[in-house]
Structure formats: structure tokens, C-alpha cells
């Protein structure tokens, strides 16, 4: 039997078997940001250790950075302190830092791929759970906690339990108005928020293969929301084409050498899996969440489920929604288009395409937050910023923004947000009673225009 990509990449990066059955795994690329690294730098300093491989470590700032006024010092003194700590730590340790002046700052999971740092067959770690995003390139990418950030800084390795591999296959053609975001929300609804515990998800099948790199990133990004530790897609021509010419992508002779490495780590045709599940793309319609975890989602034309399960009851109470009612027509207050899930150029293009010549409903506050400086520049060169602004959106600077509201972009009271982000947890968007409904950028654009949860296919006449 052949091997799958996960097993191959794991074996190449294995340093040692640790007592108790864990593996010491080498991390080829370590990405850091301001929220989860300062404590880790303090820990290694205290132990008298140094960063083992500063040239395999890259930093940017995303979580706390304001998206309106980025003049220093930041208005929020804690944010300023975190930013200064990152500047100091990267400087002292010889780590490349992509700050706002570099022209490359942005959400870490958007910046890595844009710079060509994210490549097939590598291992990636970052102190952020959405690190699985990098798996879209055929990398094995782990979201880690601060003690592990410390481990990777000090040794470029970490201790891990081996994972089982589940092949999650989606086949067939997506219907108009259905996107990568709908696929992953659909998969999580069916596999559960904890269905992936102990697994790596290999996303495969013709639907996944036909997605753009951006779409694959959206799918892998939310693997963690399904409980999987990592998610990945086998690399192909599309992957290689995306990488070509990127700042840190291999060049010249090295490109050919790396190409053969990238080909070699693909899952073998006869690869073994611990589990295989198969879905049909035609069964997927635009998805929205109605509850307080990403599994609690429905197709836009469905009615909200009736179930006396206590977690449903809790979700309905918090969301102030009624079992059995349609989700369509739910009034919204805020629209957020952005985040590491849907803050890439393709997402902005898709939303702008539909927003052109339309107006945001008068009671709605709408935010468009490009995922990175590069995305922002590209969008502005294409005139997307003007479309958003003319429609009534606020056009902001790059950052995580209202995905987790660690910067000033927050919901107020029990506002409902139609959001392209990845988590609809209680209080996630900055207000302890704020409500989040997850969806694709096209669906968020539709909600912005009508002021309520709507079917983008009807609003924009897609068929």
C-alpha cells in the first residue's frame, strides 16, 4: 500500500521518537504574531536559550492592529505594548518582521502564502489555530499554543502525537452561488465540530481540485473548526503556478529540484487512509450558521432545526432565534467581510462583483477588511475599494479585525453580524451578547444590501 501526503511529510520531518509514544517533529516554517509570541520569547530568555533557526521564523502583526488609524503609538496602550514586544523580540533575535511599513503586513495566514513561504511538503507551525490554512498547498500546518511556540523557537521542533488521516472527498460541480466557504460549513455540519479529533483531514475529490488556491485555503482554514488538527490538499499544477515568482518561492535550478520534491510528497494513488468520507457537491447550497458553533449551520432555504438537545436550546436562547423558523429574513446589524477565512483578493472580487451599483441597507454598518497589504493594494488597483465605498462599506486597513475583535472593531450589545469569518462562538466579535452568522462573501454582500439574511442567488439573480 502507498502512503498519503501526511505520512510522507511526517516521516521526512521526524527527529526522534519520544518517551510515551510522541514524535519530535521538525518545523520547517515558524510563523509568529504579536498575541501568542511575547510570553514565549520571555520564557526562552528566562531559560537562557536562543532562537534556534531565526531564518525559519517570520513575523507579522494582525490580531490587535487597528484597521482605521494605524498611527503609532496605537490608541490602545495594551495593543501598543504587544506591538513593541514583537518589534523588540524579532529585532533581538534576527527574525524577519513584516510590519506595516514593510508593505507585506497582514493576517499571518494570508501573508505566508502570498510571500511564497508556504510551500508543498513543508511543516508549518504558528501560535494560531487557523494555521491549517497553509495545508491548501500540501503543507502540514499546526496551530499551537504559547508553550509550543516556545518549543519551536528554542528547538525548531515540537512534541506531537501521530494523527490518523481521514480523506474527505467532495465530488461534482458546485451550483451557482455556492463557494468554498459553503463546502466547509457543510462538511463541519455533517462531520461535527469534534468529528475530526485525532485526525488530519485530506480534502480531495473533483470539487476540491477545481477550487482556486484561495478556495482551498478557505476550506483548509476551517478544518480546525471541525476538530481536525490539520487539513490539507494535495499540491498540483495550480499550486505550483500560484507559487511561481513569489518572494520566497524557489527560483531557477532550485525550482526544478523543489518541483520534483513537491511531486514526490503527494498522496500515492493506492495510499491508505484511516477513514474515507464522500460528499456530493450538488447537495450543497449556500450555508449560514444559526447557532454558537460552526456545526450549527443550515442551507439558506432550510428551516432552523427542531431538537430538544440542550446545546441547541442554549444556542437558540443566545441567538434569539426560533426553532422551525426560516433563517432567511433574519434582520442583521453589521456585515464583516474579511479574516483569514475570506479576506483574500478572490473574496473581495466576488463581493464587489455583486455590490457594484448597489447600496448597503441604511441600518447596516458594513466593513470590508482586506487580509493583507498586498490584497489591499491589488484590490485598489482593480478599483474594488471604490465599489465597496460607493455601496456604503467602510474600506479598512488589513488585520484580523472583527473576526475576533481584539482591535477596536467590535459588535455592540446583541447586534447580529453577517460575517465571512470562521467562528460564531458566544461573544466572539467583541460584545458578550453579540451574535455572529457565518457565511460566504457573496452571502454577506446579499445580507448587506437587503439588511437581512438573504439568499445571494435570489438577490443577485444567480443561476
Amino acid at each position: 500500500m502507498g502512503k498519503n501526503l501526511f505520512q510522507k511529510v511526517w516521516d521526512i520531518h521526524k527527529v526522534a521518537d519520544l518517551p510515551g509514544g510522541r514524535t519530535q517533529l521538525f518545523i520547517g516554517l515558524h510563523l509568529i504574531h504579536e498575541v501568542t509570541s511575547p510570553q514565549a520569547f520571555a520564557m526562552i530568555k528566562e531559560l537562557g536559550l536562543k532562537v534556534a533557526y531565526p531564518n525559519r521564523t517570520f513575523a507579522t502583526c494582525d490580531h490587535i492592529i487597528p484597521t482605521d488609524n494605524i498611527t503609532r503609538p496605537f490608541a490602545d496602550s495594551m495593543a501598543e505594548e504587544m506591538m513593541q514586544a514583537l518589534e523588540k523580540n524579532t529585532k533581538e533575535n534576527g527574525i524577519t518582521f513584516f510590519g506595516p511599513e514593510s508593505g507585506y503586513q497582514g493576517v499571518v495566514h494570508i501573508v505566508g502564502p502570498e510571500l511564497g513561504l508556504t510551500q508543498p511538503g513543508i511543516t508549518v507551525a504558528c501560535g494560531d489555530s487557523h494555521t491549517a490554512t497553509h495545508g491548501a498547498f500540501g503543507a502540514i500546518a499546526f496551530g499551537i499554543g504559547t508553550s509550543q511556540v516556545r518549543d519551536v523557537l528554542a528547538t525548531q521542533t515540537m512534541a506531537l502525537n501521530d494523527l490518523k488521516v481521514r480523506r474527505v472527498e467532495v465530488n461534482g460541480k458546485l451550483k451557482p452561488g455556492v463557494y468554498a466557504k459553503d463546502i466547509i460549513l457543510y462538511l463541519i455540519r455533517h462531520l461535527g465540530v469534534n468529528g475530526g479529533i485525532g485526525y488530519a483531514y485530506e480534502f480531495a475529490g473533483s470539487t476540491i481540485e477545481n477550487l482556486s488556491m484561495e478556495g482551498r485555503m478557505t476550506v483548509c482554514n476551517m478544518a480546525i473548526e471541525g476538530g481536525a488538527r490539520v487539513g490539507y490538499v494535495n499540491p498540483d499544477e495550480k499550486t505550483f503556478e500560484y507559487l511561481k515568482g513569489k518572494k520566497y518561492a524557489p527560483k531557477g535550478e532550485n525550482w526544478d529540484k523543489m518541483l520534483s520534491y513537491w511531486e514526490s510528497i503527494k498522496s500515492d494513488k493506492d495510499a491508505e487512509y484511516d477513514d474515507v468520507v464522500v460528499f456530493n457537491a450538488e447537495d450543497i447550497e449556500p450555508m449560514v450558521t444559526w447557532g454558537i458553533n460552526p456545526e450549527q449551520g443550515v442551507g439558506i432555504s432550510e428551516k432552523l432545526p427542531i431538537d430538544d438537545n440542550p446545546s441547541f436550546k442554549e444556542a437558540y436562547e443566545y441567538m434569539k432565534l426560533k426553532p422551525g423558523a426560516p433563517i432567511k429574513g433574519t434582520k442583521i446589524d453589521v456585515v464583516f467581510i474579511g479574516s483569514c477565512t475570506n479576506g483574500r483578493i478572490e473574496d473581495l472580487r466576488e463581493a464587489a462583483k455583486y455590490l457594484k451599483g448597489k447600496k448597503v441597507a441604511s441600518h447596516v454598518k458594513a466593513l470590508a477588511v482586506p487580509g493583507s497589504t498586498t490584497v489591499k493594494a491589488k484590490a485598489e488597483a482593480e478599483g474594488l475599494d471604490k465599489i465597496f465605498i460607493e455601496a456604503g462599506f467602510e474600506w479598512r486597513n488589513p488585520g484580523c479585525s472583527m473576526c475576533l475583535a481584539m482591535n477596536p472593531d467590535k459588535l455592540i450589545g446583541d447586534q447580529i453580524c453577517a460575517s465571512t469569518s470562521n467562528r460564531n462562538f458566544k461573544g466572539r466579535q467583541g460584545s458578550s451578547s453579540g451574535r455572529t452568522i457565518l457565511m460566504s462573501p457573496a452571502m454577506a454582500a446579499a445580507a448587506a444590501v437587503t439588511g437581512e439574511i438573504s439568499d445571494a442567488r435570489e438577490v443577485f439573480e444567480l443561476n
Partner: protein, 200 residues
């Protein structure tokens, strides 16, 4: 880097039941703005415990009967969501030494056990029974015996689950992985040298 082995945890418990208690509920994002973890304990479960005006809500952690608890009894998929270590750090710094749950989210489990926060699992019916016992008698001493993989509550003994590697790391005092990793730096260099890629 020698740390003390952990063979058992003994203490009073508090049930914080419900499934899918996520990291944002354990520690709301607005309390993550810190460059150290000091003082983060007081914000554990903050929005669950207090309303937007800071008034206490009905929550087990606001219940005086459980104020000395050092063990949390929880439901399914506890700690799902973020990889931020702030969540287990806040629980540990709020004075807890162990969590007994039906199941744990993967990253949260690893983050917690690295800190020496013991995480063990019990089936749903036993979680419910244990929670009832504790609710009826908040002063009962709960003992988690890691070596034997059992939980003792009065006369009652439950078989609990723990990953073999985690169990060993507690018993050997090697749950903080850094010490073990540092021993292999020669091998690390070897693997790095043979990797086909770099970013120089």
C-alpha cells in the same frame, strides 16, 4: 529542566457542564491583550460569570459552595476553538489542577497537559453522576489517580481515560516537552541539514 512528576490530583470539584465550551468562553478575547500570563486567572469564564455591567450571573464559579474547587467537571469537546494557551493558562491560574471531561478539543488538551493541568475523560453517564455527587456534596474530595487511571469520589471508583503518552509524561515529570526536545538537538541539526528547503 527537571519538573516534579504528577501522580495524582486531589481536591474539591466544580461542575461546569455543557458541550463545546470554547476558548472564547473560557477567556474572552478582550483579556488576551497581555505580554505575560500573570493575572489572567481572574478573567477565566468572565462573560459566563458576569453580565455586561459586571454583575454576577448564575454560574457554578459564582456559587460559594464551589469556591475552593481545584478540579473542573466538564462536558463534551471542552476547550474547542482557539489554539491560544491563554485558555488553559487562565484556568490554571484561577487555581485549577485538573479537568475531568467527556472529551477535550485536541489543541486545548495538549496546551493544558504541557502546563501540568491534568486532563482525563469519563463517559457521559459517569460525568453526569459525578457532577450530581459533587452538587449534593460540594466538600467531597475527588482523587484522580493517574497511574491507575481511576477517579475516586467517596466510595465510588471510576475508570478514566488518559492518553498513554500524556500519562507517562506526568509520571516521569516530563510533561513540559522542552527539556525532552532539547536533548535531541544534534538530531535536529541533522534533519534540518537534509531538508530540501530553506528560506534564505
Amino acid at each position: 529542566m527537571s519538573i516534579k512528576p504528577i501522580n495524582r490530583v486531589i481536591g474539591k470539584a466544580v461542575p461546569i457542564l455543557g458541550d463545546d465550551i470554547d476558548t472564547d468562553r473560557i477567556i474572552p478575547a478582550r483579556y488576551l491583550k497581555c505580554v505575560t500570563f500573570d493575572g489572567i486567572g481572574e478573567f477565566a469564564f468572565y462573560d459566563e460569570r458576569f453580565d455586561s455591567e459586571g454583575k454576577p450571573k448564575k454560574h457554578p464559579l459564582n456559587d460559594n459552595r464551589f469556591k475552593d474547587a481545584s478540579i473542573i467537571i466538564a462536558g463534551n469537546n471542552f476547550g474547542c476553538g482557539s489554539s491560544r494557551e491563554h485558555a488553559p493558562q487562565s484556568i490554571k491560574r484561577a487555581g485549577f489542577n485538573a479537568i475531568i471531561a467527556e472529551s477535550f478539543a485536541e489543541i486545548f488538551y495538549g496546551n493544558s497537559t504541557t502546563l501540568g493541568l491534568v486532563c482525563v475523560t469519563l463517559p457521559k453517564t459517569e460525568i453526569e453522576e459525578l457532577a450530581k455527587t459533587v452538587d449534593a456534596n460540594p466538600n467531597i474530595q475527588i482523587e484522580i489517580d493517574i497511574e491507575r487511571e481511576v477517579i475516586r469520589a467517596g466510595e465510588k471508583v471510576y475508570n478514566c481515560g488518559i492518553k498513554p503518552s500524556t500519562k507517562k509524561s506526568f509520571l516521569d515529570g516530563e510533561y513540559d516537552s522542552l527539556g525532552v526536545l532539547l536533548k535531541n538537538m544534534d538530531k535536529v541539526k541533522e534533519v534540518e541539514k537534509n531538508l530540501p528547503y530553506s528560506f534564505a
